[in-house]
């Protein structure tokens, strides 16, 4: 009688455990399906295997999610991704979609000023103007004036051999240098007037039509 009763009780306990475990499995599957319906997968790869990858969202902390590559599951939404390594940097905004995999590749490069500035323009041969009478300060001001003319320009080229100093008349406070070149491939003619070591006044004209494109001076307080 005793052994049968013990086996019976044991069987009852295991059956109860099976019922509880079954209920637990159903709940777990249901809960996981809910999570899967609210989240998506984000796969990040970078151009540097040691790059530290970070992620943040509006009104949240940033968090490190991996090195070199990372695959994570996140709530659907908009995220800021960044990767850094050895002075190289990449950043992007990405959108994670429910139940889908979003793939992002971050190509790291040297950080540049994100805002448009004269520093982002490629000036070819402009330093030749230093050999023709301008100071480095004046050339820096000249670059700023080119940028003021067109903030989106990528390349300014000064045609080699085009720089000429016009004859200076006694009593005239201004010296004048002219040169030709191209701005993003479009030809221009430039006239630079200056009186001392800092000021420059730049006038740009379209080389083909002769139409004046821009005139400006730095420092702006110069008469």
């Amino acid at each position: 009688m005793e052994p049968r009763s013990l086996a019976y009780r044991l069987r009852q306990i295991i059956l109860a455990a099976i019922v509880i475990a079954s209920a637990g499995l159903v709940y777990s599957v249901y809960n996981t399906a809910q999570i899967r319906d609210r989240t998506g997968t984000l796969k990040v790869t970078t151009s540097a295997s040691k790059a530290i990858i970070t992620i943040s969202q509006m009104n949240t902390d940033a968090e490190v999610i991996g090195t070199g590559t990372s695959t994570i599951r996140l709530r659907a939404g908009t995220y800021s991704l960044a990767a850094n390594y050895a002075g190289l940097h990449a950043t992007t905004v990405t959108h994670v979609t429910t139940d889908q995999t979003t793939r992002v590749t971050l190509n790291l490069a040297k950080s540049t000023n994100v805002l448009p500035s004269a520093d982002n323009i490629d000036f070819e041969n402009i330093d030749d103007l230093v050999s023709n009478g301008l100071t480095t300060t004046q050339v820096a001001n000249l670059k700023q004036l080119f940028f003021t003319y067109k903030k989106t320009m990528q390349t300014v080229d000064v045609a080699p051999g085009s720089i000429q100093s016009t004859a200076h008349n006694l009593g005239d406070p201004y010296f004048t240098i002219t040169f030709a070149g191209s701005i993003d491939g479009a030809p221009y003619r430039a006239a630079v007037r200056y009186t001392s070591f800092e000021d420059v006044a730049l006038t740009l004209t379209d080389q083909r039509s002769g139409v004046q494109l821009f005139t400006g001076r730095l420092p702006s307080s110069t008469q």
Partner: protein, 145 residues
């Protein structure tokens, strides 16, 4: 014989129980592709993006954290909240201080300038005039032409 049958039935029930326990552990992982969802901690506005920008500037393996490596000061918004200027102050003299300029794009802010205590005027040429004026008044711009 009856004892044998009882034993077999107990073993079967045990196997079923073990299978269920393993299923509870494994099925959710399989459903989520082996990935546990990450939840980012709530924090004051802009701190996440500022921390990411600081990590780029300092090139550290650890992420500078608000309240631990720097504290967030005032935040001002410009142009219908498209632009923002936040000030940060370093904790433990780690050099993380100054102003940070952010621009909203794609629904999230991105650091476009700083952090820094002094910006050359040509770096601010692309900013809205009221924002530039604010930075100038706060002493963050030098070399104004």
């Amino acid at each position: 014989m009856e004892a044998g049958r009882t034993n077999r039935s107990l073993v079967t029930l045990n196997v079923i129980l073990v299978v269920l326990i393993v299923a509870i552990l494994l099925v959710p992982r399989i459903m989520l592709g082996g990935l546990k969802p990450i939840t980012l901690k709530t924090a004051p506005a802009l701190t996440g993006q500022i921390s990411q920008a600081l990590a780029a500037k300092t090139d550290r393996a650890t992420l500078p954290a608000a309240g631990k490596d720097y504290s967030l000061g005032s935040t001002r918004y410009f142009d219908n909240d498209i632009w923002a200027v936040a000030t940060i102050a370093s904790i433990d003299n780690n050099g993380l201080s100054g102003a940070v300029v952010l621009k909203k794009a794609g629904g999230i802010y991105k650091v476009v300038l700083g952090p820094g205590t002094s910006f050359p005027s040509n770096y601010t040429a692309g900013l809205p005039s009221d924002l530039k004026q604010y930075l100038n008044e706060q002493g963050y711009i030098y070399g104004t032409p």
